[in-house]
């Protein structure tokens, strides 16, 4: 019996992913922050699962080429919703 995914789970996973991607590119928090026009503190909090703005999250996603993948998910959800009306 697996517990349902919580909002906190998602924020923690977002932070984990940011850290992983950042380290893949061998960037420090400072360097990533500079590249995105954010402060290191904002990156620091994001990586530790704190609340943030969509702009911050999407800037990070964009920097690691994940924006398109996320956008596609949203489009798929929208389309699967439309298809429902055909049944």
């Amino acid at each position: 019996m697996i517990d349902a995914v919580t909002i906190k789970d998602v924020k923690l996973q977002l932070g984990k992913l940011c850290k992983q991607k950042r380290q893949n590119y061998e960037l420090s928090q400072e360097e990533l922050a500079l590249a995105l026009g954010l402060s290191r503190y904002t990156i620091q909090k994001f990586e530790n699962g704190k609340n943030a703005t969509l702009d911050t999250a999407l800037k990070i996603a964009n920097h690691f080429n994940l924006l398109e993948k996320f956008y596609k998910l949203l489009k798929d959800v929208e389309n699967s919703n439309n298809i429902d009306s055909l049944y």
Copy 2:
């Protein structure tokens, strides 16, 4: 030649999806806001593609049962990153 997905595109799509899902459930902005402990104005801005917090976006996603799908995407990205190291 398709233009790259922008942060603005994603926010607009998030808003569009919220509106679509909300109308599927026959909820007014007011009712959705009440159900999530948010103000109608926050829903209003979200649906029109304005910036918001992760908490707001994830509360909405959770209400329409999209949290797990999103979490799975994040896990997949994390895992595909690990697999890379095997090649």
